[in-house]
Each structure stands twice: as C-alpha cells, then as structure tokens.
C-alpha cells in the first residue's frame, strides 16, 4: 500500500513539475477591452435590442473603429460602414433570441463559433445562466446580452485584435 501511494505521489509530482505530457485545454474566452476599443462607457449604455433608437450609434461606432477618440477628431476607420453593415443592422431591428444566432441569417455575418465566456472586469458578480455571448464578424466582436427567456436585449461591439476566431484557425 505504501509503495502504491509513493508511486502516485511521484507521478503527481512529476506531472506538476511538467515532466509528463499534458493535454492542452482550449479555453475560449473573450476579454472585454478598454473603452477605446468598445465604444460603450459602462454597461448602462449598451445598445438596446431590437435596434430601434440606437442604430445611428452603432453605425457611428463601426465607422470610427469603436474609438471615441477617432470620432472626436472625425477620423474614420471603416469606409462606408453604414452600407457595409446595413443588412445586419436591418436584422437587429427585429426581435431575436439566442438560438437565432445559429441561424443562416446570422451565420452570414458571424461564421465562427459562439464564444460563451465573456470576461468583463466591470461585472460585479459572475454572470449567471443566461450570460452574454460573443460572435465575430471578422473585424469586430459582437457581444449579445440576453434575458431569462434568451431574448437578445442589448449588444456591445468590441475590437479585440489579439484574439483568434475559430473559423480563422482552420485556414
């Protein structure tokens, strides 16, 4: 019995010391970036969905690269953002649920997998069951917030250049 315990101890120690091959664990997490890459100042001014009064604000955010400093100086990052994102914003004017994000309409815009773990340092507590989710259009990440019925209630667009999208990893 003592021998068996010893071997287990050695094996665990070796593993902790990095002597054994370890299985890599893929953790798909989207960190919410600072304000110069996400437009919204606080979670209070997320843009409400369905998109009714906030459309112009989203268009502005996309045009100025989500950076209010660019807006302050009227420096655009995306040429003709209003036209480029028109169809997506048209869709967001209608009610949508979490499951709609997997539909063909949304897949045209967000071909990658849905990122389920959004790390937002501004959160007071860990998000519960209906936590926000994120999808990438290639340039920006769209973080969708939902209610207990999984209806999409608001959106925040963020730019996180250093994060891979799963679709791109396959290329």
């Amino acid at each position: 019995m003592r021998t068996r315990t010893l071997w287990i101890t050695i094996a665990l120690t070796a593993q902790l010391a990095g002597c054994c091959p370890q299985q890599p664990v893929t953790v798909t997490v989207l960190p919410v970036p600072p304000q110069d890459s996400r437009w919204q100042g606080s979670d209070q001014d997320r843009i409400a969905l369905p998109l009714v009064s906030g459309r112009e604000q989203v268009e502005d955010a996309l045009k100025f690269g989500l950076n209010r400093n660019n807006k302050e100086d009227n420096v655009a990052v995306v040429l003709n953002a209003k036209a480029l994102y028109k169809r997506l914003l048209d869709r967001l004017e209608k009610p949508a649920t979490f499951s709609d994000l997997s539909s063909d309409v949304f897949k045209q815009w967000f071909p990658g997998k849905i990122v389920m773990q959004i790390v937002d340092a501004r959160d007071l507590t860990r998000p519960g069951q209906h936590a926000p989710v994120a999808l990438s259009d290639g340039r920006y990440w769209w973080i969708f917030y939902r209610n207990a019925n999984d209806q999409l209630t608001s959106v925040m667009v963020a730019k996180v250049q250093a994060i891979d999208t799963l679709v791109e990893k396959d290329k």
Binding site: G65, E72, V75, A76, V77, L79, G138, I163, T165
Partner: protein, 348 residues
C-alpha cells in the same frame, strides 16, 4: 491654421517648405482645424541603437538638439492653444514608430522587447501618447507585430478623413510594395482588410500580412532601411516667402521614377474603392519610403489625384540628386484644403 503651425515649428526649428498642394475638393475648407502628420521614426532601444551607424534623426544618443521632442512639444502646445480658441489640431503618427524588425528577430518578440524600446524614449513617447494629444497611430511594417499585444488594440492600418465623406486615405504605404511586386493571390485578403469590406480580416489575415511583411520587405538593414542614398526632394522654399498653392509637385511625365513611386498604384486603388463603395477618395497619404514628396496625376474620371509621402525622421535627403545630405526630419500638415510638407532642422 497653417500660419499657426508654421509659427510653432519656427520657434523650435528652421523650417523650409518641401512641397505644397491645393485641392479645393479635399473637404478641409475650414481654416480652424489642421491635421498634422509625423512620419516614420523607427525608434530602437539605446542598446540596439549602438549596433547601427544610423538612427532616428535628432533624437538618438549624442544629439543635443532633441529636435523631434521639441517639435512634438510645440505641436502639443499648439493643440492646447487651439482648443482654447475653439480650433482643432489632429495628430497622426504614420507607422514604423517602434522598429521591431531592427530591434529583434521577430520570433523573439515579447513585451520586454517592446519595453526595451519604450524605456529608451520615455519622454518622447510620453508626449506622443499623452491622451491630451489624442494621437492617431498607424501600424507600419516595422511595427506591424504590435497588433499581437492588447495594449496596441486601438492602433489601425488605415484611416479615412474627414470621417463624414472621406477624400483622403492615410496608411503606412508598405501595402504598395506588395502591389507593385505583383503577388495578387496573397494580396487578395490584405486588400480586403485594407480597403474593402470587413470579411473575416481578423488575426489569421493579420498573421498572413505579417508573413508577407517578412517575406517581401525584410532585408539587410546594416546601412539603411529604404534608401540607398539621400532622397532628392527638389528645391525647398524659405518660409519667409508666402506659401504658393502648389510647389514642387512631381508628375509621371517630368519627374524621375523615385519621385512618383506608388503614384499609379495608389491612384488605381482609390479609383477602385470609389467605384465599389461610392466614396470620393482623391488622395493617399503614406510614409514608408522615407522620401518626402507630393506626386499628382488624374484619376480615370478626370478627378485630380495626389499621393503625399510624408517622409521620415530617419535616413537622409538632399535638395538635388547628389547634393549635400541632410537628415530627414519632416512634418506634413493639411488645412484649408492645402497640404504642405516641411523639412525641419535645429536652429543654428
């Protein structure tokens, strides 16, 4: 505001006009704002700088003038004064700000390498990155890899000004190296990222751009980066004379090839973008070549087009081919629909 900038620069430097260009459709009719563009600095750490015979002009070890720092300080002061008078100064850094390529082998790039450069230029970087200056940073080829670091998340590969109905694209300019080397397949994705719709141009394409950077642009930097000799700027004008609407413009017909480098490619890209997006672009502003100049031609529909190369703060220039070399130290300004490039030198 050209006069105010010229005065601010003249307080810290001897200023000469390299070139000027006026286009009344540039959408910058308002004399109460000015766009100021600072080209390639190629900053290195102090340790790495000793390995090269050349470095950032008027900033490196042994330089007592600290001209570059004085110029940025003057621009920052002008911005503050302008704000008080309800005027606006918008500042851009045109890329190749930190020279990661000369600092290390890119495989070794990490936070400490970047910190090594930053620590050697704390005052200058403090001025340029002061939130009050609100500098808009472009990534160049030598600092493109910064995209991998979240601190540089807000830096971009291109800007369009003015934001409402852009007439000008600002970009570092290395893109045109690739265009003119005729590698269309690889370039397709890059073109999408730089010029067109946002179709999956995330990290994979950014990574591909980085690979292309290394493949096509890396070279032996022991004696220089872009130039084999001083860039011939043409006849410069003393600022005591009034600035003419157009001065020292280069054209395909009458200028040597180096003076019109990238002109046709840039014009073609703008024409294509206008056709596909309905935009009204008519000017491309770059750095990259370290050869300050303004070159003009007509777009296919007859619209005047200009390529403005903002020059550099590294390597050298001369008024004429084979003339006396002087350190590149240029600033470009846009106001009241006029673009000007200035060459600066420390006061005697």
């Amino acid at each position: 505001m050209h006069d105010q900038l010229l005065q601010a620069l003249s307080n810290v430097a001897t200023v000469r006009l390299v070139a000027s260009y006026t286009d009344n459709e540039l959408q910058f009719p308002n004399g109460n704002s000015i766009q100021v563009l600072i080209p390639d600095m190629h900053l290195l750490s102090a340790a790495r700088r000793t390995l090269y015979t050349y470095g950032t002009n008027y900033e490196g070890a042994g330089d007592t003038s600290h001209l570059l720092q004085s110029v940025v300080t003057a621009i920052a002061q002008l911005k503050m004064d302008a704000a008080a008078a309800n005027q606006r100064v918008v500042v851009f850094v045109m890329g190749d700000y930190l020279d990661l390529w000369r600092e290390c082998l890119l495989a070794d790039l990490n936070d400490e390498v970047i910190a090594g450069i930053r620590n050697s230029h704390q005052q200058l970087l403090g001025l340029l990155e002061d939130p009050a200056l609100n500098t808009h940073f472009l990534l160049g080829n030598h600092d493109f890899e910064l995209y991998r670091f979240p601190s540089y998340n807000a830096w971009e590969r291109r800007f369009f000004i003015p934001g409402d109905d852009p007439t000008i694209v600002l970009m570092h300019g290395d893109y045109f190296d690739w265009v003119e080397q005729n590698i269309p397949e690889d370039l397709r994705d890059i073109a999408v990222y730089l010029f067109s719709e946002p179709v999956e141009p995330g990290k994979a394409i950014l990574g591909k751009m980085a690979d292309l950077n290394k493949k096509y642009n890396s070279t032996d930097y022991s004696t220089g980066i872009e130039l084999t000799g001083p860039a011939p700027l043409g006849s410069m004008q003393n600022p005591s004379r009034p600035c003419p609407p157009n001065h020292n413009l280069q054209s395909l017909k009458s200028s040597p090839p180096a003076a019109t480098k990238f002109l046709e490619s840039a014009c073609r890209e703008c024409a294509n973008m206008n056709a596909s997006s309905g935009s009204h672009l008519r000017m491309v502003i770059i750095g990259h070549t370290h050869h300050a100049r303004i070159a003009t031609m007509s777009m296919p529909d007859g619209t005047p087009f200009a390529l403005v190369d903002t020059g550099a703060w590294i390597e050298s220039c001369a008024e004429a081919e084979g003339g006396t070399a002087i350190p590149n130290s240029q600033i470009t300004a846009i106001s009241a629909n006029q673009v000007r490039i200035y060459q600066l030198a420390p006061h005697a």
